[in-house]
Symmetry: C2
């Protein structure tokens, strides 16, 4: 069985397409990972996530450690058995959600202490505890525990945070390796920090390469800096990371974010946008996003996206989806989410095909022209 | 094509099993109809409703006339095309929901005027308007418009309400027949009223038989009178209706209600209980109902119902469902609803098999003994 093997099958400019072979299955890259925050890709059955074309999903360490708890998931046979998903799972480290969702009570070299956003109970996360949780969950791609600071913070603060994250990356790697049985079958990624500063990004990349990881994430982006600033960073940041390892852009993003990031050499993505938008009546289509709550769809007999081959577009009209969304029906969230995940996975398949064919530039330009207007990307 | 043909294939005591052949498909009886209130069986895709074993679903005239509106559904091709369900649909007349959900502003021999519970807008329903709406929806089994009064009302009031309902039944029949194209392909059922009074029930049955319907419903039960009183009424009411026509007990019910009613000669049922319970974490199992919110399920690795062959029980544990329900996850409502509808449809299949085998009494007694404790039945 292959623990982790990344093969690049074709390149087009800086973009690459290939596959990551792992014991639980192969991940075609560039890959989009639907977010399964609390042990469920919200409003979808696992079989429909597979049918949509997803090779891997993401689980959130922060959410799962609070409910149902990592030890409980472990006793119940791990996250795969618990949620009925047998393909690879990547788990984040919890660092992002601790900052964005919980009340932080202490932040030190050791780690962070915080109060749960659910019930106020006290918890802590450190590199060692984060990796321990991810191991108990049965994660196939474990993320190093890092520290995230806003991109607007002064450079000295960014530098200090990045340097601490690099010390935490080493502790994460050591903690991962100490779980020998788990480490023998699974992989760990390091996370590059350094905000929007090319020099800090380079130092961070070098520190991670020195430690050595199976893959490398570009962290700290998609936090409000805007697409232009993000792309400016992606013009150099992925190139600072090893070419023969997968590069993962965390928490991204909108469809045009993904297209632009693939052009800049990114291989993996996750974002709550398609699932969260589905629950609020926002659809992604090849002509741009649509808000199905809008009254103009009330008698629209056409499919959500006339070019979409998904079961939702084959069966139901915009008028029906409008009715479901307006009525607050669960089926509305189910069908909109399924279409949106299909849209994202189709986009990834189109990007892989365009790279293979050497036509990425024309695909991307056409996509950007046709795809007018976008909603905002967000993370879980 | 067969407009409506009811065949009894076997009897066991007063119970019957058979089939209703219609243009859109055959309904095996005794039949349970999942409730698709607002053009959706809540939290289920139509294909999963079919896979669960449902031959027919129920749509609510009251809900659909308010949102999205009967004329709109008609312009969009009818309820079947709108919601993606191609098998038979029975629609109620709206009479029950007008009384239970809306603010009644006028009640006369002509019909009822009321304010929508959604937005306060003014509407009216009469036998003619109810049948018109059901025709526009494309209903395959249309219900006569009737008047429902509490079973605790004095006999004179019950008698007057029943007599008005019989005049409305005639107007409903005439209105149905006047829609010639629709009437040529679909069926209409009359509704027996008379509360818990055997004499009134007999008068009502005779009036309906005099008009003549494709099938007959026992109305005005499952409104708080309790199972014992309901069964006492069902000891005579179904026998007052024609033996060669389907008998439909509206809004019923709990599993033991259904078993007892089948023993008393009922052929069709509808109830929101399996779907509504699914959304609140209540599961039906062969050992009785379970509240999945209960902490005792938090590490229960067993399936919801060890004897259930449904996909939910084959895939997920009580612990996982507990987690989903406690976390308010949409997937919890989806899986619990699917299991509950499967449970109801399995029960109907078991009842049909027991009648065919002549073993209904022993099946029913075993079911009652094993099925300990029940939640309360309710209507949409």
């Amino acid at each position: 069985m292959t623990r982790f093997a990344f093969t690049i099958q074709a390149t087009d400019g800086r973009a690459r397409t290939g596959a990551i072979a792992m014991e639980r299955g192969t991940i075609r890259t560039p890959a989009f990972m639907p977010v399964g925050t609390a042990a469920t890709v919200k409003a979808m059955k696992p079989a429909d996530v597979v049918a949509a074309g997803a090779d891997i999903i993401l689980g959130n360490t922060y959410h799962l450690m609070l409910r149902p708890g990592a030890e409980r998931v472990e006793r119940l046979g791990g996250l795969h058995a618990f949620m009925g998903w047998d393909r690879p799972i990547l788990t984040d480290s919890g660092g992002y959600q601790v900052m964005s969702l919980s009340e932080l009570t202490k932040r030190s070299e050791d780690g962070v202490a915080f109060k749960s956003h659910l019930d106020g109970t006290r918890h802590m996360l450190s590199p060692e505890r984060s990796i321990d949780i991810q191991r108990r969950l049965g994660s196939n791609i474990v993320m190093a525990f890092d520290e995230l600071v806003p991109t607007t913070t002064p450079r000295e603060v960014q530098a200090a945070a990045m340097e601490r994250s690099m010390r935490w990356a080493k502790r994460s790697r050591d903690a991962f390796d100490s779980g020998e049985e788990h480490a023998a079958h699974n992989a760990i990624f390091g996370i590059q920090q350094g905000a929007l500063d090319e020099g800090l990004r380079k130092s961070s990349a070098d520190a991670l390469i020195d430690i050595g990881f199976d893959g490398y994430a570009v962290g700290g982006l998609a936090v409000g800096e805007g697409q232009e600033a993000m792309f400016a960073c992606l013009d150099y940041a992925p190139q600072q990371l090893p070419a023969d390892r997968p590069r993962y852009l965390m928490g991204v993003g909108k469809p045009t974010d993904i297209v632009g990031a693939v052009e800049r050499g990114i291989d993996m993505f996750d974002c709550v946008l398609p699932t969260r938008s589905g629950r609020t009546g926002q659809a992604f289509t090849r002509g741009g996003p649509l808000n199905l709550r809008n009254a103009r769809f009330s008698e629209d007999r056409g499919p959500l996206d006339p070019e979409c081959p998904c079961p939702v577009c084959a069966t139901w009209s915009r008028a029906y989806l409008h009715h479901l969304v307006r009525s607050g029906e669960i089926l509305g969230a189910m069908l909109m989410t399924e279409h949106n995940i299909r849209f994202y996975e189709h986009l990834m398949a189109d990007l892989r095909a365009a790279i293979t064919d050497g036509t990425l530039a024309s695909f991307a330009n056409t996509f950007r022209v046709r795809y007018a207007g976008e909603t905002t990307g967000e993370r879980a």
